[in-house]
Symmetry: C2
Subunit: 225 residues, 2 copies
Amino acid sequence: MGDRQAKDALYDAFGEVAKALASGRRAELVDVLAQGERHVEELADEIGQSVANTSFHLRALATAGLVTTRREGTRIYYRLASDRVAELWAALRDVAAAHHEHLDDLAAAYLGDRSRLEQVGREELAERIRSGDVVVVDVRPAAEFVAGHIAGARSIPVDELAANLRSLPADVEVVAYCRGPYCVFADDAVRLLRRRGRRARRLVDGFPEWRRAALPVEAGVPSPP
Amino acid sequence: MGDRQAKDALYDAFGEVAKALASGRRAELVDVLAQGERHVEELADEIGQSVANTSFHLRALATAGLVTTRREGTRIYYRLASDRVAELWAALRDVAAAHHEHLDDLAAAYLGDRSRLEQVGREELAERIRSGDVVVVDVRPAAEFVAGHIAGARSIPVDELAANLRSLPADVEVVAYCRGPYCVFADDAVRLLRRRGRRARRLVDGFPEWRRAALPVEAGVPSPP
DNA sequence: ACAGTATTCAAGCATGTCCTTGACGAGGTC
DNA sequence: GACCTCGTCAAGGACATGCTTGAATACTGT
C-alpha cells in the first residue's frame, strides 16, 4: 500500500474523468445536458456535429461515468449522472474565466458586447418573484423548459419572442434567463426587448445554477392560459 | 454573435483547461501544489518522473493558467494560480469518487483497507481543538507544514513518526492529517499509532479542504519547544 | 415476424500527446 | 569571467484522439 504503481493508476483515473471534459464538443454536450435529458439527434443538432460523432462523444462521457442513459420507445435519452457533474462543469468554467488567457476575448466574440446588458442576481430575482413585480421568461428551447424551469417562469423560446411580444405586460420589468453565463439566448432576448422599449435584464447565470442554489423550480408543460 | 465557429472556439477553451488535468501525472502535481508552492526537482520526486518530463507537465499546467511561478535564486517555485483551482480539483475528485467505475478498487489498492480506520470530520476536529483535548499531528513533509498548516498542529512527517512517538502524550487522542482524502500519510500514521496502543484517528480530508472551509490556519516554522 | 428508424460500431487518415535523451539558457557563486 | 546548478527546449518514436463514411445493431410498432 502506498506504492508508485497503484498511486499512478489512481490518479490516472482522475485524469480519465478530466479527459472526458477535455474536448470542446463534450463540454458543449455537458452544458446542454445540465438543462435536462435529451436524445442523441437533438444533441447532435445542438453541437453542430454528425450523429455518429455525437454518439462517439456521448460514449466517452458515459464511459467516464459523467452521463447515463434511459430508453423511451425508439429513442435513447442522455442525462448527467448527478448534480456533482454540473458542479464540476461550473468549477471548470470558473477556473477558465479566472485564469485562461484568452477566455474574455473568446466569450466576447461569441456573446458580443455585454457592457450595456444589465444583469440581475439570483437572490434579487428570487426576492422580486416573491413580491410579484417582475415577469420571468425562460428563453431556452421548449424541451428544456419542460424538463425543469424557475417556478413561475413563462416559456418563450428566443426565436419566438418577437412574435409574442404583445403577450408580455408593457409596464413590468422582464427578466430573461437561459442555460448559463455563456449562453446567448437571454442576451439576445434582452437586447430585443430593450429595442422595443421594454425594461429588461438577464439573470447572471442560468437555470442549472438556480436549481443548485435550491431556489424554487417547477417542471412540466406550461400551465394553460 | 452566437455563431457556430465562435461557440466552438469558446468551448474549446474550456476543454483546454480540462485537458490540463487530463493526465494522472498532472493531477498528482495539482494535488501536491494544493499544499503550497514547491520547486521542480521536489515535484519531480513527488510524482516519480524525470525533471524534464515534470517540467513539461508543469508547462502544460502553466499554459492552461492553472499554475504560476516565482523565481528565488536558482530555483523556480510553482504554485496553484488560485483557490479556484483547488476547488476544481476537489470537484473532479468528487465526481470520480461518485461515478468512475473502478475508483473504489484503485483507491483500495493504493490506500489499503480503510474499514477499520476511524475518521474525524472537520467541524468535530475544530471543536475538539477549541476544547483542547486532542493532539493534532501534521504528517506531511516538513516543507508543506511550513507553507501552511492547521492552527496548533505539530509537524511530524510520517517517516519520522516512529522515532518521535514518546514526544506525544499517551493519554490524549491523536488526530493525524495530510494532503487530502487520497493521501496515505495519515492512514499510515494512524495505523502505526494504534499498533502502539494509542487512540488515533485521521481527519477525513486534508489541509487544503480545512483552509478552504475557512477554519484556523497558521504558516511558518514550528514554534520552539 | 417484418419493416422502419434511432443509435452505435468499425475502418481509416490526419493530428496530437507522453516520455526519453541530449543540448541549451538563465542565474548564482567562486 | 569561468564554472556550476536548475530548469527548459527540441527531436523522435510509440501510441491515442477526433472526425468522416458506410455498415451493423437493437429496439419499436404494426
